[in-house]
């Protein structure tokens, strides 16, 4: 565990009625259930943990090979392997009671009914979850997932249904694999989402030239990592121009400059994804250096960065 350095700048950020200690979160599916790497990271320093997508039933996930590296990135097709909502409630929620970090539960489903059922089950038992991130953008499952995220009407319908069930934070996680992310974001906003997060992975493929084989069992997978950072920045900035709800920025963030850029593009907070695989403690390092950056640039609060990019035109 690392020593917290003296803080001058105010790192807190707010979404809906929820205040987070800092804007450095970890992204769903890249940090397990938050309990996997206790030696390497003090999870209580994180602004929030977004847990791995949970489905109604446990899922085995896709056959191997599931991941492959690409230039400055990686492709994954895990296929939403997860323990299912019942084990999540039974085994994970009690652990979260003892963490001081805020937990956001990520939910995935194949139809509206599945999302609703999962959320109702959690609502009925626990208050430890501060909010939900709704995965409508997973490229690696046959049914559901991205189908929602590319369709305004389905996004609106799903958001409205879930809004009826919970008063906790409702964050819709958007797909970059669309012609117009802003219209999807608008649908979420108008149907009551507290925030949107963007982006999930970009559909990609990888082939081994020597063997001729696809490097991913399901042929297509989701591209993540620094390679997609420019895509994430553009989408966050576009959303920021038109939406009034907060945006949580995701995509290839590996250091404090990346965080600053995503916040300047319009993010109120960010999620670290692929970078956790190199170093599960990287978010703590980024947090430390972000504090230094704010002090050095004489900013009193992290919130000063939000949307602060100076465009030329």
């Amino acid at each position: 565990m690392k020593q917290r350095i003296s803080i001058l700048a105010d790192l807190r950020i707010k979404i809906g009625n929820e205040t987070f200690d800092n804007p450095i979160w970890v992204a769903s599916g890249t940090f397990g259930y938050g309990t996997e790497a206790p030696d390497l990271v003090d999870v209580n320093r994180l602004g929030a943990i977004v847990t791995k997508s949970i489905t109604r039933q446990p899922r085995e996930g896709n056959p191997p090979p599931r991941i492959v590296e690409t230039p400055s990135g990686m492709i994954n097709s895990i296929g939403l392997a997860n323990i299912g909502v019942e084990r999540y409630i039974r085994e994970m929620l009690p652990i979260y009671e003892n963490l001081s970090t805020k937990i956001i539960m990520n939910i995935a489903g194949t139809d509206i009914q599945e999302y609703v059922e999962i959320m109702k089950m959690v609502e009925s038992v626990s208050s430890v979850i501060v909010g939900y991130e709704i995965n409508i953008s997973c490229p690696n499952v046959k049914k559901g997932g991205m189908e929602f995220g590319v369709d305004c009407d389905m996004t609106a319908k799903l958001t409205a249904k879930l809004r009826n069930i919970t008063e906790r934070l409702l964050i819709m996680k958007l797909s970059p694999n669309v012609s117009d992310i802003v219209s999807i974001g608008m649908s979420a906003q108008e149907s009551g989402a507290d925030a949107v997060s963007a982006i999930n992975t970009v559909v990609g493929m990888s082939i081994n030239a020597n063997t001729g084989e696809s490097n991913i069992h399901t042929t297509y997978g989701g591209l993540s990592g620094p390679a997609i950072k420019p895509v994430g920045l553009a989408m966050v900035h576009k959303l920021y121009q038109d939406l009034s709800i907060p945006i949580i920025g995701i995509g290839g963030i590996v250091n404090r400059e990346d965080v600053v850029e995503f916040m300047m593009a319009g993010s109120v907070a960010v999620q670290i994804g692929t970078a956790n695989f190199r170093n599960p403690g990287i978010s703590e390092d980024i947090l430390d250096t972000l504090e230094i950056f704010l002090e050095e640039t004489h900013r009193a609060a992290a919130t000063e960065l939000i949307g602060a990019v100076k465009t030329h035109s």
Partner: protein, 263 residues
Amino acid sequence: MIIERAYIKSNREVANNIWEMHFEAPQIASEYSGSGQFINILVMNAWNHPLRRPMSIASVVKGNISIIYKIFGEVTQLLSEKKVGDEAELMGPLGNTFSNWKNGTYPILVGGGVGLAPILNLKNECDTHHVKYDIIIGARSGDEHFMDHEPEKNIILSTDDGTIGVKGTVMVPLEKMAKENENPYLFACGPEPMLEAVRNFALSNHIPAQLAVESYMGCGVGLCQGCVIHRQNGEIGRHSYHEKYSLVCLDGPIYEAKDIHFG
């Protein structure tokens, strides 16, 4: 499990395209629990290769760790260009270990290609514990070998082209030696076709076998769910919460041959 900046103490080509590197990594060495474990190496700060590279531990001696690696792509190429005194960032020790080799059975160690590291490590552990064993090392050709063929010491080399030792795959001497010894227990590491052959031989002859498997790893610590291998039955693994697959980074890389299959 630790992340440690480690000094490179040596780096040399021991056979054609096969390299050996020693690190000074006292923290990881102190947590090390046996042959089969691996480290996850970060060679450069740049992010063009976001992922670390898993490498089996070949030896641990007084705070020093060694690996044996083959140049496959850009990262192992960069590794080979490292000089004594340079640093690398190691995460480890990771994974489980070979087991049951000092419990009265007769270990037959089988290594192929770069699957040498954990097997050499186990060999040394056997030597230290005065456990008798046979060892068979296979390669395509003689220039990939850096040990001597010494049948009298139970060290058997094989080559596909017959340039050194026994001509053919490791299966030729293995089948012979498994029959000659009582209570044989196979310990194998190498390319997947070799492991599959060893597994088939072991299962059909009811000989116990442990395989050190490889899989493409994202994190090495259970975060990414990327490194799965097919389970044969539902009874292995604390960490792998699914029936069909096992996480190699946590519940492997060493498996009983009967517990997994290669898809």
